[in-house]
Structure formats: C-alpha cells, structure tokens
C-alpha cells in the first residue's frame, strides 16, 4: 500500500537521527564510563567502577561543591531578578508584555561568548565600571570584579537569565486576575498574595527555569575560564579537561553520567510538580 511507503519515508530520518545521534552517543559514554584509562590517553575495555569512585575523591568533591554553590547562587539571583520583572509587567497590557519579552530575547541573538567578552570590558580593573566608580570618586582602588567567583556568578547570571525570565513571565502572566482580585477582596496583603497565589501558581515555571539555569551554570566552562581567570574550576572545566587536556575519557564520561543522573532526577521532580516536558528549554 502507498501509505506504508510514505510512512517509512516520513519516519526513517527521525528514527535514524534519534538512534544514531542521541541514543548511540549516550550509550557509548555510559560504556566509556566503565572502561579503564591507560596512561597514554587510550582506553582499555575492562570493566571497572573506579571512575565513579574517583568522583568522590577529596579534590573533586571540592570542585563539585563549589560548582554547585555557584550554580545555586546563580539560580537564586535569576529568580530574584525575574519575579519583580514579571510582577510589574503582569499589570501591563498584552502588547507591552509581548514587546518586553522580545526585548529580553534580543541580546541573546549574539553569541554567549561574545557577550561574556563584553563583560570583560565592563568588569576588569581598568574597565568601564571601575573607571566610572573611580571617576565619580566613590572608590579609590579598583574593585576586583572578575578573575574570581564574583565574576563567574555575574557572567552566569547574565548569560542564563532569559531561561528563568521567560518561564517565570509566562507563568505569571497566565495567573487568572480573578484569583488575585478575590484574594484582595478577602483582605490579603501583597506579601501574602505573593506567598499564597503567585508562588504556587508559578512553581512549575520557576522549577523549569531553575533546571535550565542550574545545569548550564555548572557546565559552562568558558564563562568560568574567562571571568574566573582560569583559577576557578567548575564541573564543566573538569569534564572538558578530562576530554581535551588530561585525556582521561573514562573519568570524564563518569562525571558526565553523574550530571545526567542529576538532570533526570530534577526532571522527574519537575514532572511531579505538574510541569510539561514540552515547556522545557522553550524560548
């Protein structure tokens, strides 16, 4: 039947893609993570759990903890910026909301690395911010705004902010006005409206945003490289080094699997909160 041929033609590319470019790479990484590394950067196909055990080595635990902390602070800052923005815009017309959502997007049409480079110009010792502050006499010595954790956090927050703003905005704009009117009518104060209506209604959105902020924030090695000055390592740098510098692929694969497990766990929670997979990563 003609229909069967059409079905094959339509389905073949997508299934081939899913198997070859999604499933195969992940299965291969899983396989690598159980292999042994030889001292010349090659792999020995011999089953071992040692790569996973090495993650809990004291040096790596430190990087894991620090990286997670940076990720958490970044996520928290993104939430703190997104809520006021969304709440103020909630009261404006649909047109203003659409315009503002577009305005959030425009800076992100340039590459994230180029924007990070823009931050160097702003943050360095003789950069725009320090020069301006010294020029106005507020400070006398330039502030150390980059080549430290502060720089990484500024860069991460900036780069990942839209991933939080968009879901928080769309969740906030969707809240039924009657809910808030009803709460006001019953005498609720702004703070209690925020706590009892806004937060529960936007929770899946915030969780979606947190997922899309936290995971890159522990993986974007180029930001910590550029703004952290190479001294500060996050999990992303660790993986990158295993693959490109230290050439210990099995260990790099094991850390990657570790990240994957965390991701799937977070997604599981997100689904439990009532979130939809289709809304993830949607810009």
């Amino acid at each position: 039947m003609k229909n069967k041929v059409l079905k094959r033609i339509v389905l073949f590319p997508i299934i081939a893609y899913a198997l070859l470019l999604i499933l195969l790479p992940l299965v291969y990484i899983l396989f690598l993570s159980f292999c042994q590394n030889d001292s010349y950067g090659g792999m020995i196909y011999h089953f071992t759990l040692s790569n996973y055990l090495s993650i809990f080595d004291i040096t790596y635990i430190g990087i894991l903890l620090k990286s997670s902390l940076i990720g958490l602070v970044t996520t928290f800052l993104c939430i703190c910026i997104s809520y006021p923005f969304a709440l103020v815009l909630r009261e404006r017309s649909k047109n203003v909301q659409n315009l503002m959502t577009k305005l959030i997007m425009i800076p992100f049409l340039t590459n994230s690395l180029i924007r990070t480079y823009g931050w160097i110009v702003l943050l360095r010792k003789n950069g725009v911010i320090n020069s301006a502050l010294i020029g106005t006499g507020l400070i006398h010595e330039p502030l150390g705004l980059m080549y430290n954790n502060l720089g990484i956090i500024i860069g991460m927050t900036y780069t990942l902010l839209p991933f939080m703003m968009l879901p928080v905005c769309s969740a906030t704009f969707k809240i039924d006005n009657n809910l808030i009117e009803a709460a006001k009518d019953l005498g609720a104060k702004p703070l209690s409206i925020f706590k009892n209506i806004i937060i529960p209604e936007t929770l899946p959105g915030v969780f979606n945003g947190s997922l899309m902020v936290f995971m890159p924030a522990i993986g974007y090695f180029f930001i910590s490289d550029i703004l952290g000055g190479g001294k500060a390592m996050i999990i992303g740098n660790l993986i990158k080094n295993q693959f490109l510098t230290a050439r210990n692929w099995p260990f790099g694969a094991a850390i990657s699997m570790f990240l994957l497990i965390i991701t799937f766990l977070l997604i599981y929670i997100y689904r439990k909160l009532g979130g939809k997979l289709d809304d993830l990563g949607g810009m």
């Binding site: 389905l11 590319p13 291969y28 480079y117 991701t263």
Partner: protein, 261 residues
Amino acid sequence: MKHKTLKNLIIALILIFLYLPIIILVLYSFNTSKMNVLFEGFTLDWYKNLFNNRTLLEAFTNTFIIAITSTITSTVLGTIGAIGLYKYNFKFKSFINLLLYIPIVIPEIVLGISLLSVYTLTKLELGMFTLILSHISFSIPFVIVSVRSTFSKSLDTYEEAAKDLGADDIKTFFKITLPQIMPGVISGATLAFTLSLDDVVISYFTAGPGSNTLPLQIYSMIKTGISPDVNALTTLMLLVTMIILFSLTFIQGRKIVGEKK
C-alpha cells in the same frame, strides 16, 4: 511596589543589565581609543581593519554557514519528523519520543563530549561537517516541540475536509497542513538559528582544525589579546542576525495579518 516610578525603574534596571555588554561592544567599535576604556572619538577604522583580518572573517562566514545549513536541515527534518510522529503509530514510538527530549534537557557539555566520542569512534574527521551535524543534532528536538505545538484537532478536521474535497496526501500537505503549521515551523527555525549562533560548548568539542567559528576564535583571542576589530565584527554579527530574524518574523507576521485582515 506602590509607586509607578519604582516599577518602571525595576524594568529599566533589568533591561540595562541585559543590554549593557552589547551596547558597550557596539559603542567601542566606533571608538578611536584602542584600550576600550574611554570613548575618545568616532572612527570606522576597525571596520576597515576587519576586512583585512582573514582569520576573523573566515570564522564569521563559517559561523553563518553552519547556522544557515543546520537551520534549514533541522527545520525540514524536524517538521517531517514531528508530523510523522503525530500521524503514525509504530513500535517503540514512546521511546523515540522520549529520546527526542534528551538534547533539550541534558547539559550541553554532556551532549558535546558524547558527540565527540562518537565522531572519534566512527573515525569522522572533526571539521565543518561534524560541526554542522552537531548543530543539526541539538536543533531538531526544538523544531519538533515547536511544530508539534501547532497540531490540533481542527488541523485534523481541515485535512479531512481537504481529502473529502478530493485532495490527495501530497496536495493536502502542501495546501492545508503546511500553511497551518507554518507559525510553528518558522518559530522552530528561528529557535534553531538562534541556538546555533549562540552555541559555544558543543562547537568547542566538535570543531576541528580549519573550522573555527567566531565564538571559538574570540575564545582563543581572549587568552592572547583582543583587538577592537572584534567589537566591529560583533556589531556586524548582531546586525546580520537581526536582519535575518526580523525577516523571518515579518514573513510570519504577514501571513497572520493576511488571515485576520
């Protein structure tokens, strides 16, 4: 949050934060000073310089070749795939559907290194081809999600109505289905294009010698020292991107205006 000015101030501050690094780069691309500190005077020298900087220009063209090729390919494949997964049932369909979410949700670095490993395993030489393949790979799921959001019960009925009036499968697709899902296809393409231009991490692992992209070039320059040409190039890149994306939105907008007029 009682005062209107305070509310406006919040919006303004956030927007300034978002635009600051870009405005600075655009501004300094016209600055006579090489140091990027004070604005000393207006010049177009950096733009002239740029046209002699072969490495940068090549990286710039590479970036757009990759973005355009991968956008077109992933939009076509993603659209066909989304339709196929919507219309047909087969064994393991839910498994394939789940797989398709993976590139959206997993950390880019994991996708990057896993693609790199497979290219090494299959002895694919790293270069433009692997870069384009990788960009197609992370874009397709976004196109699928975007196209899928335009499927609805009424689309099914439109297709049935077309069949009822004598249109075969191919005609129904081009006359009914495609115009109806066009908004999803265009926003999927926009997303694919933006993601490709924005990507650093996956390109970093899957690029090879002679296939430098602009971000990778700047990355290596940051370590050795950056010339203000980069500011000029960034400004150009922003311009080209905006033109492409606005024309995409324009096409989409005109279609909608046509229907609602």
